[in-house]
């Protein structure tokens, strides 16, 4: 394993220290328990938005803390959900009297830890609601499983609901909007290479020189299926077809197309895939109204990509375009 680190056990803490120095104008980073706060938290009268999850997905979530997006983010160990005391601290320090919305990705660990935190907060008289993002169509949904994972849709939700909270929507409205985003967003990803978790020291799965994993999550878990590497045209089909069928997305829909790098796939490949996807959607009569291309929800240095498609309505478009000012996303400010 070759990484620019000092010690696997201090990677997250040291990285947060650099992040804090780089973005001191926007965020305050608390070391223990680890929480990234909006520099001006709590904002009185505003619904607080809190998310969190394992580290290694940067810029998610710490990079999305700031005006028009998250109030706080709780970073766990690499690929390990954070703990209730982090979340509780975040809840207490961001609640501006209008309540707190927890944005939870659907992983057993995240769900259970946020659940515990919410129970603890309820005891302290803060109004807390949770939404669970589960947009990954690679996983078959069923009452008898852990259900779908939360992946790229999370970032879109954080932006859109963040803008709603910023304009003053109340907790019930934010929660309803979040659930509307969840109902309309679908994702799927693939990996060309595995990533290496620092404390593990070896790649999280094995892939031959000509193999890829289709249907991966964001934690270095293996996907649903290995296949031989294929031309980009075919790879795009492999990701987009299940997404389109699932919701389904159909002719006449207006969408946001989010073409995401898993971290190690460079822009030259990502834009190439994005172009193929745009043309494919146009051929299907689907209007791409907004696009978002880059490494926004990653798995360390993993090479690979995912598509996320969000069916838009006018309100979502307006909220997507609304000003945002965070370490990783900035526009209109």
């Amino acid at each position: 394993m070759k990484k620019i680190i000092n010690d696997p056990s201090t990677v997250v803490a040291e990285s947060l220290r650099g992040f804090a120095l780089a973005h001191a104008d926007l965020v305050t980073v608390q070391e223990d328990p680890a929480v990234v706060y909006r520099a001006d938290a709590p904002v009185p009268g505003k619904v607080a938005l809190i998310s969190g999850g394992g580290s290694g997905h940067e810029p998610m979530h710490g990079g999305y803390v700031g005006r028009g997006m998250l109030s706080a983010a709780c970073p766990g160990a690499v690929f390990t959900s954070p703990t209730p005391d982090q979340m509780q601290d975040a809840i207490t320090k961001t609640d501006g009297g209008a309540g707190v919305l927890l944005i939870v990705k659907n992983y057993t660990g995240d769900v259970l830890n946020f659940e515990t935190a919410a129970e603890l907060a309820a005891a302290e008289d803060v109004e807390v609601r949770s939404v669970v993002v589960d947009d990954d169509v690679a996983v078959k949904d069923s009452l008898y499983t852990a259900g779908r994972r939360g992946v790229g849709g999370t970032v879109l939700l954080e932006k859109i609901v963040g803008a709603a909270a910023e304009r003053g929507d109340d907790l019930a409205a934010c929660e309803a909007l979040a659930n509307r985003v969840i109902a309309n967003v679908r994702s799927m990803g693939l990996a060309l290479t595995a990533c290496t978790v620092p404390h593990v020291g070896e790649p999280s799965f094995d892939l031959a020189e000509d193999e890829i994993e289709v249907g991966i999550g964001i934690h270095g878990e293996p996907g649903r299926q290995k296949m031989k590497i294929a031309p980009a045209d075919e790879l795009v089909d492999r990701l987009l077809d299940p997404i389109l069928e699932d919701l389904p997305f159909t002719a006449g829909d207006r969408v946001l197309l989010f073409t995401n790098s898993m971290g190690g796939t460079p822009p030259i490949e990502l834009y190439l895939a994005h172009g193929i996807a745009e043309r494919k959607l146009a051929d299907a009569g689907i209007t791409v109204e907004r696009r978002f291309v880059g490494p926004y929800i990653t798995s360390l240095e993993m090479q690979g990509m995912s598509f996320t498609l969000l069916k838009l309505d006018d309100e979502m478009v307006g909220l997507w375009d609304a000003p945002v000012h965070t370490p990783a996303l900035r526009w209109g400010v």
Binding site: V78, T80, T83, Y107, N113, V139, H219, G220, E221
Partner: protein, 210 residues
Amino acid sequence: MGCTASDVVAAIKAVADVVAEHKVELTQLDRAIGDADHGENLNRGFTAVLAALDGATPETPSAVLKTVATTLISKVGGAAGPLYGTAFLRAATATAKSDELDAAAVVAALTAALEGVVARGKAEPGDKTMVDALEPAVRASSAAADDGGDVAAVLRAAADAAASGAEATIPLVARKGRASYLGERSAGHLDPGARSSSLLLRALADVAAR
């Protein structure tokens, strides 16, 4: 004669040692069907537990178990943190009134722990989770107590049953937790949480046998 608070502390320290020893193994099991952190998670947790117990002198077994629970909840994260945390919390509650734990109390604690895991995680036997180790362990411990077994016998029965239960997860297709994302590909692998549960119980049994 039952276990005092300091016996429980000794047992927890033994558990921490076993977790440290098996850290890499547990992480490797999780690498195959999860996200390669189970050993790391538990070791982080039990290292913190050792620190929390260091110097502290909890007066009852229940107080020890509660310290373990809150420490695991705040340090482990992932699925295992709240699950094991809840398990120890429920065990603490179940034993709240005793200064010493006899065989019946141990069975009650194990039973409460399993109920806590199931309440939080909603897994059923056969879902390929730690429940597949814990559920037979509770049944076996209860049977051992009914047969008049002492604490050591009860825990030995639990550990033996957990070990077979864990082994039996190998052919299963996961229906809960991260391994469930793999569908059929999860078959053929030992569940990391079932393995850690069986290691924990074996460590407790070994201490009790001394």
